[in-house]
């Protein structure tokens, strides 16, 4: 255990083949190795953010939006238009730019889509008086210095100037440090 295997990386490009050897004797077929082919799959979705849309419009305009229940007052750090506490409808509110790290991790691996961005830091942000949290990225700290002391760190929201209409249009930096 522990010793790392030395090996070349597996990649998915390969030769295009149009035929394989075939035995005369059909009883040999059950011993044949499986044929494994590459099958490409790609798709564009016409995805609507529906009732969540104002959140993304907010990000494009430098505002981080949550919601607050008009009936029971429960406040959502990640917006939802209908309250899961009482079923009432929520109103949009602007969240404070500064919050605190509730928890975090550093992803050294990731889903294929984000593999090229590793290592990246995920945080859940909390705000006093806001009942739920918000998932975001933290930049501006050294992943090598990760420690439980990061929990509770004051962080400030920053916004991308060229909006991508993704939740990553907002990200957080340590609020203690000057960011120009």
């Amino acid at each position: 255990m522990a010793e790392k295997k030395i090996k070349l990386p597996e990649t998915e490009e390969g030769a295009v083949i149009f035929n394989v050897p075939f035995p005369e004797d059909l009883s040999q077929l059950k011993k044949m190795a499986p044929i494994i082919i590459k099958h490409h799959y790609e798709i564009d979705y016409i995805h609507s953010y529906g009732q969540d849309s104002p959140f993304f419009a907010g990000l494009a305009n430098g505002k981080l939006l949550g919601t607050k229940c008009s009936k029971c007052g429960y406040t959502y750090g990640t917006p939802r238009l209908d309250c899961m506490e009482c079923g009432g409808e929520c109103d949009w509110i602007e969240l404070p730019k500064e919050g605190y790290i509730h928890t975090f991790t550093i992803c050294y691996y990731g889903s294929e889509e984000f593999l090229k961005e590793t290592p990246f830091i995920l945080i859940l942000v909390e705000w006093p008086g806001v009942d739920t949290l918000f998932l975001s990225r933290l930049v501006g700290v050294d992943p090598k210095e990760a420690s439980l002391d990061w929990v509770g760190m004051k962080v400030r929201a920053q916004f991308k100037r060229l909006s991508k209409f993704k939740p990553t249009d907002v990200y957080f930096v340590p609020a203690g440090k000057k960011n120009k």
Partner: protein, 433 residues
């Protein structure tokens, strides 16, 4: 509700890839094993099986919709009725309970629950992407969707809240890999030390490669029967009775989990948890309510004393520790110390460490997901099969060795869990002979 029994089970060996077969034949391997174990010919099985439940998680992995119907025809069970169950990581456990419902309601007398997953059809990181699509795709996935990252955030909070250590988490990995050393069905069979876990590659701080289960190809089958069928067909003299089922669900977005009071089990008091905000992201509320419901139905008031073993969903070493607490084996916050004391280790197996209370209640005697693998749709059913063999006392027969047989096991629990604690189900199985 009518009493429901498990009468047979089968598992294909879980491996990284099974390019030699398609998913249908992989299920057939497990099905044929289950039939053979009770001396049932496939033709006769067709006559007595009233219906089936198909369990598989991701249509992305198969790139085949309605795969369940293709398994059904491959097994020769057309035109019997069937339905597909899906609920993330808990798919297998949910399907098992769906089979229970079909028999308990009187609709079926004999029900086959089959599950599979073929995760090798994409590379590991694409597979992680498919799995991460089981998180909110508006708010969570695009930020860096990665389940290991989500669970890492949950355990960081657990560590902060309760001083749980990475060494305590590593002990779960030591235990489960070492148990699996004796389980021929397991994918990763190795004896490791705490240092091996900590020195393996970091995936999502503080979780390393050896804190995390792997992707697998695999299939599993459980055959359930009513009392009437048990008497009529006389297929086994060692049936196992399902005496409790429970389930729960929590908000998909971890960010939405509330911070309130602990939901108490009968042996707990509110004073135990003064000032603790619950579940937050450090605990699985759905796991607690699933346990509570299953325990109530089975008449369990003190899980640590009333259960002989548990097969639980250890997709991460951290989630095994968190689940000890949800299931009431110890108080919330004590999970790390629970494993450190040796309580969830097997008695009589040498793990290379001395524990003051080794073998109090073996957890994941099979090796769990971490060592057996996690072909999602098969996983919860695999747990049922291993638990079934434990209660029958037939581990030696099926594993080829007796190391993992818990002496005189009379009652066990299986626990299946999905996406950061969204769907969770717990079922109680008891010796029925």
């Amino acid at each position: 509700m009518l009493p429901v029994y498990m009468i047979s089970g089968g598992v294909s060996k879980f491996t990284k890839a099974r390019p030699d077969v398609t998913f249908q034949r992989m299920v057939k391997e497990a099905y044929d094993y289950a039939l053979k174990d009770i001396g049932l010919e496939p033709g006769r099985a067709f006559e007595i099986v009233d219906g089936t439940i198909a369990s598989y998680f991701s249509d992305h992995f198969t790139r085949q919709l309605k795969a369940g119907s293709m398994v059904q025809d491959y097994l020769g069970l057309c035109p019997r009725p069937s339905k597909r169950i899906e609920g993330g990581g808990a798919t297998g456990g949910l399907a098992f309970q769906s089979g229970w419902e079909a028999v308990a309601s009187g609709r079926y007398d004999v029900c086959v629950v089959y599950g599979f997953e073929t995760m090798s059809h994409v590379n590991t990181w694409k597979g992680n992407e498919f799995i991460a699509l089981a998180s909110d795709t508006n708010f969570d996935y695009p930020v860096g969707g990665f389940y290991s990252g989500y669970y890492a955030m949950m355990v960081v909070r657990h560590m902060k809240e309760f001083k749980t250590s990475v060494e305590q988490m590593a002990l779960v990995s030591v235990k489960n890999h070492c148990n699996a050393f004796h389980n021929p069905y397991a994918q990763k069979r190795m004896k490791i030390k705490i240092e091996d876990v900590r020195n393996s590659e970091m995936v999502a701080w503080p979780l390393t490669m050896l804190d995390i289960c792997t992707m697998s190809d695999g299939a599993a089958v459980a055959i359930l029967a009513s009392e009437k069928a048990l008497e009529k067909y006389k297929l086994t003299d060692k049936p196992v009775k399902i005496t409790g089922v429970g389930g729960g669900l929590d908000a998909m977005r971890m960010a939405d989990r509330p911070h309130r009071d602990v939901i108490l089990l009968p042996h707990e008091k509110a004073e135990d948890y003064k000032g603790l905000k619950y579940p937050g992201v450090h605990s699985f509320r759905a796991g607690r309510v699933a346990s509570k419901e299953a325990y109530r139905m089975a008449g369990i008031t003190n899980p640590l004393g009333d259960l002989d073993f548990i097969e639980l969903h250890d997709a991460y070493t951290s989630s095994e520790i968190q689940t000890y607490e949800d299931m009431g084996l110890c108080r919330y916050g004590e999970g790390g110390r629970f494993v450190e004391a040796g309580k969830p280790f097997m008695p009589g197996i040498d793990y290379g460490y001395k524990f003051p209370e080794q073998g109090k209640i073996p957890v994941n005697p099979s090796g769990g997901l971490i060592a057996c693998g996690h072909p999602v749709g098969a996983t919860g059913i695999m747990q049922a099969v291993f638990a079934f063999w434990q209660l029958q006392g037939t581990i030696g027969k099926h594993f080829g060795n007796d190391f993992l047989q818990i002496k005189n096991a009379r009652r066990g629990a299986i626990h299946s869990h999905a996406g950061t604690g969204t769907y969770v189900v717990v079922s109680i199985l008891e010796r029925g002979f």
